[in-house]
């Protein structure tokens, strides 16, 4: 009896302890007062006179500061000239720029994989690849021992052995370690003759040399392999670098190896056994998927300063800041089903502003395990129910209405009002009785180009009327619209009423009228007469991947009066090609009934332990800084008014796209003209109806709609099938 009492008391105690542990609010996190950590700064290089852009080809630490070699081209097709410059940033921040004529002599027509590396003794090594008169690839290595006054080219037999040199590292004794496109790591003597074949490395991992050591990323990408040239042995320093990512490495004067990769900046002392991470990739630009690490340089000091450049000439300096919080005292969780580039950029900017906060971004589809979206949503819901959900939720693909109904989301009206001014029409579209629970970070627009009446696209019935009334070319082309692609397009653009269960028969009849009028069939691309020879399967694959091409084809050749597509940026291929088609071949650009697609619908978890910080992060997402720096990867228009105005005021010649239609017709699209931009801007400002994006429901409805279009079901049967799906779905 006594024992039973002891056991019972123990069990009750354990239960109470568990309850206490579980009830500890997630917001109360240990506060650590320690200060001092590496912080990131962006460096801007001056653009040389007459240059519209420049590409970085080398970055080296020198006694005078950091030197950057850049290249820019000017001229017209066939008569391009390449200019090279050296920018030196002194310790006091002053920048001096000088032209580098000797590089023009070495590579007047530019080349591939240009790279300029300075050895410890000050010698400059310039390498690049080009093609000889027989179109055979060849490598060049030029050496200048007097800082660019004179130079000579190495002619040793080892240079021709490499497929294409992608990285070069000079050793103290004049030997040169090179890595080629195939990943082979070779050692050349001072004359360029092949001295040794060291092995293989990952081609995008970089190469570094120090005294008699050469370091490359092992082919597996899971270790840095350090070759000791005094013997024949090599040692692997294990490190887990994210797959398919670029990394670069560099030795400092004391032999410490620095490595930059998407997960951060690492260092490894010569006698050490482990890597030390001193900059977290997630809180800096290093972790942004579009960031491609191309150069790394180290300046020695009490605390070394690291410089990293990305492929698109973004330069970043990582220096120790004694005032920054050493360890973030707060963690902010951000969740989304799919990767969102804007969140990544906001994380970096937010970290710069609030070094005490670590933003942890979870992208469900990137998680190991290979679950479905439903699995990820269930896992999220479990967290929300347990009071341990993310602080900021990107709601794309999530049950927004249900979250609003259940009170999961906080009112962010005040946050949006206090953020930089955003498009009022987009805000209004998401307000419910004056309360705002979610706001898109960007939008895409469905648009049409037509030679007919622009009002034909306002509704499904108007489009069906136009399709039936048209004489001559069809409103849309059956080349681009099989039963399935037509149904998909109509569901996307006009399916809202159907999704809510209204007027199923009206939708089906409208779709059937259009399908019959334009002569859709089961096949996609029927009638597409391409001048290049590809198989039917390849054609089908191509058309599914780029459904815009058959529309352009039909429109340009006068087989259709209109095209429908969606745009998400002025440098978006569809936008450039579409606006170009309208100008080249005539036609008006118009919206589809004021509809728009939200990209990155953001909300804040009402139960967040860090509600105010979460709101600050949302403010950051909507700020001009983030909205104005949207990269091509974002594929959406900003919702910030100033960012949008700035984007549309811009002129650019850096982007273009093209379609070869036939021997007589081509479409060459560039940055849209001012009138076209003004028209798109008007459409964005008038967009007021968010489109429903329900891929699952669309997938379930498609077979029933297609079966009516192809005649295998009657209207009543198809309507019943659609209603059956909808009733189960909607009545749940």
């Amino acid at each position: 009896m006594h024992l039973k009492k002891i056991i019972a008391t123990f069990l009750v105690f354990t239960l109470l302890l568990s309850c206490y542990a579980c009830s500890k609010p997630s917001g109360q996190r240990a506060s650590i007062e320690s200060k001092g950590r590496y912080m990131e700064d962006k460096i801007s290089l001056p653009l040389p006179d007459d240059a519209t852009q420049q590409a970085l080809i080398g970055m080296n630490a020198t006694a005078n500061g950091m030197e950057y070699f850049t290249m820019s081209s000017s001229g017209t097709e066939g008569s391009y000239h390449t200019f090279y410059y050296r920018h030196t940033i002194a310790d006091d921040g002053s920048i001096s720029t000088t032209p580098e004529k000797w590089l023009e002599d070495c590579a007047p027509q530019s080349g591939n994989q240009l790279s300029l590396v300075r050895a410890a003794d000050g010698t400059l090594y310039f390498t690049f690849g080009d093609y000889d008169e027989n179109s055979k690839a060849q490598n060049h290595i030029f050496i200048s021992r007097d800082d660019g006054q004179t130079c000579f080219e190495l002619k040793g037999n080892g240079i021709g052995v490499c497929s294409m040199i992608v990285a070069l590292a000079p050793l103290d004794d004049g030997r040169i370690a090179v890595q080629d496109m195939d990943g082979s790591v070779l050692l050349l003597d001072a004359e360029g003759n092949l001295a040794d074949e060291l092995g293989a490395g990952a081609y995008n991992g970089g190469i570094a040399a120090y005294e008699n050591k050469v370091a490359v990323l092992a082919p597996s990408g899971k270790a840095v392999r350090v070759y000791d040239l005094t013997g024949s042995e090599s040692v692997d320093w294990d490190i887990d670098i994210p797959e398919d990512s670029a990394s670069k490495m560099e030795f400092s004067d004391d032999g410490t190896l620095y490595l930059a990769c998407p997960s951060g900046l690492y260092s490894h002392t010569p006698d050490g056994t482990i890597w030390e991470i001193f900059v977290d990739g997630d809180t800096t630009n290093l972790g942004i998927p579009s960031f491609y690490i191309s150069y790394l340089a180290v300046i020695r000091g009490e605390k070394d300063v690291i410089y990293v450049a990305d492929y698109e000439d973004g330069l970043y300096r990582y220096a120790y800041d004694p005032e920054a919080a050493q360890i973030a005292s707060m963690e902010l969780d951000v969740f989304s089903l799919v990767e969102n580039d804007m969140v990544r950029h906001a994380m970096v900017a937010f970290n710069r502003q609030r070094s005490d906060v670590k933003v942890k971004y979870t992208v469900a589809s990137d998680l190991a395990g290979g679950g479905t979206n439903a699995d990820y949503i269930k896992a999220l819901n479990t967290g929300l129910l347990a009071g341990d959900g993310p602080d900021v939720i990107i709601l794309d693909g999530l049950p927004l209405d249900s979250y609003i109904e259940k009170g999961v989301l906080a009112d962010i009206g005040e946050v949006v009002s206090s953020a930089d001014a955003m498009l009022p029409n987009i805000r209004q579209a998401y307000e419910e009785n004056g309360v705002l629970y979610a706001i898109p970070l960007g939008i895409r627009l469905p648009v049409a180009i037509t030679k007919g009446d622009v009002n034909a696209f306002a509704s499904l019935s108007a489009l069906a009327d136009a399709a039936e009334a048209t004489t001559g070319a069809d409103v849309l082309s059956s080349i681009a619209y099989s039963y399935e692609t037509l149904s998909t397009m109509l569901l996307e653009n006009y399916g809202d009423a159907l999704y809510s269960g209204d007027d199923v028969k009206a939708f089906l009849q409208g779709a059937k009228r259009i399908s019959d009028s334009i002569g859709s069939t089961e096949a996609l691309g029927e009638g597409l007469d391409l001048s290049f020879q590809i198989s039917e399967d390849e054609l089908h694959e191509m058309l599914l991947a780029d459904q815009f091409f058959p529309q352009i084809y039909a429109y340009v050749l006068g087989k259709a009066q209109s095209t429908i597509f969606d745009i998400g940026g002025l440098d978006d291929s569809a936008c450039m090609a579409g606006t170009s088609v309208a100008e080249q071949y005539g036609g008006s650009l118009c919206g589809i009934g004021g509809r728009f697609m939200a990209v990155g619908l953001a909300g804040v978890n009402k139960a967040s332990g860090e509600l105010e910080t979460a709101k600050d992060f949302l403010r950051m997402l909507l700020s001009l800084e983030i909205q104005g720096s949207q990269s091509y990867r974002s594929r959406c228009f900003p919702v910030n008014q100033e960012a949008l105005a700035s984007l549309f005021a811009k002129e650019s010649s850096n982007c273009s796209t093209g379609y070869h239609v036939d021997d007589e017709h081509e479409v060459y699209g560039e940055w849209p003209s001012a009138p076209m931009r003004a028209q798109i801007m008007r459409m964005i400002e008038q967009a007021n109806t968010p489109m429903t994006d329900n891929a699952e429901l669309k997938g379930m409805l498609l077979p029933a709609i297609v079966s009516y279009l192809d005649g295998s079901r009657t209207l009543d049967e198809a309507a019943e099938a659609v209603t059956s799906v909808l009733s189960t779905y909607l009545l749940e």
Binding site: K378, L384, L385, L731
Partner: protein, 261 residues
């Protein structure tokens, strides 16, 4: 350990989705007026009523026949258990290979001049699921029955035969009464296993399958995806009550049957 989660489910059934507002029986009313819930209940009920008697009867008859067949009995027993160890994903692949519109069965239809049928997206889907359940659980139930049958003393049959009883009378008056404990256990296990068929249905046709195989687990899973925790809790309480009643009824029935026999 099961009591606390059960009580939490009962509590949640009386509160709003996020568990912060008492709503009384509102969640039960919401569930009981939900047409999709009724469709799921109807399908699940139909499935149970068809499958469980069919499975029990077929497996009992097979077990009775096998008991006489001493030759290769253990090999057959092992063979019958094989479907239990085949991974569900493989089963799903087989189902799709046979029953999809471009599958084996449709190919046979075409061969005989019939139109191919999308078996998994028509009323036939229900019977595909029944077949799948029977195939998977048949052998297991045979083994269970055989265990029960081997526990019956042979002397009872010998005495009955001396008294002039035929095979059917032996089965009715000796086998069935002696199987009383096995009947209860086998039925409850068949009931439990019947709920596992959702895995196949889900993997074959996803969250929204053809209406004929839209089961209770589908709606519960979909409600969870939509964060309708209050509805899931209310439905779980209702389901728990229904299962308790069914088990109680089966227990009483098998006890009464035993007594009357």
């Amino acid at each position: 350990m099961a009591v606390i989660p059960t009580l939490d489910v009962v509590r949640r059934s009386l509160f709003s989705a996020m568990g912060n507002k008492f709503v009384g029986l509102e969640n039960f009313a919401s569930v009981l007026t939900n047409e999709s819930f009724f469709l799921a209940v109807k399908n699940t009920g139909r499935f149970l009523l068809l499958c469980i008697p069919l499975l029990l009867t077929l497996s009992l008859l097979t077990a009775s026949l096998l008991m006489r067949q001493r030759w290769c009995q253990s090999l057959l027993k092992t063979t019958y258990l094989l479907p239990m160890v085949i991974p569900v994903t493989s089963v799903v692949l087989i189902i799709q290979a046979v029953f999809s519109k471009n599958g084996l069965l449709s190919a046979l239809c075409t061969l005989f001049g019939k139109t191919p049928v999308d078996w998994l997206n028509s009323e036939y889907a229900f019977f595909v699921l029944v077949l799948c359940y029977l195939w998977k659980n048949f052998g297991y139930n045979v083994v269970l029955w055989m265990a029960g049958l081997s526990a019956i003393p042979n002397e009872l049959y010998e005495a009955a035969r001396i008294d002039g009883a035929n095979e059917w009378q032996c089965f009715l008056h000796i086998t069935l009464p002696q199987l009383k404990p096995t009947v209860f256990m086998t039925t409850v296990l068949a009931l439990i296993n019947s709920f596992k068929v959702f895995r196949e249905a889900y993997l074959v046709a996803g969250r929204y399958p053809h209406n004929s195989i839209y089961m209770l687990q589908h709606i519960l899973s979909n409600w969870f995806t939509n964060l309708d925790m209050q509805k899931i809790s209310a439905a779980a309480v209702l389901l728990m009550a229904a299962i308790c009643l069914a088990v109680f009824f089966i227990a009483r029935l098998s006890a009464r049957k035993g007594e009357s026999l």
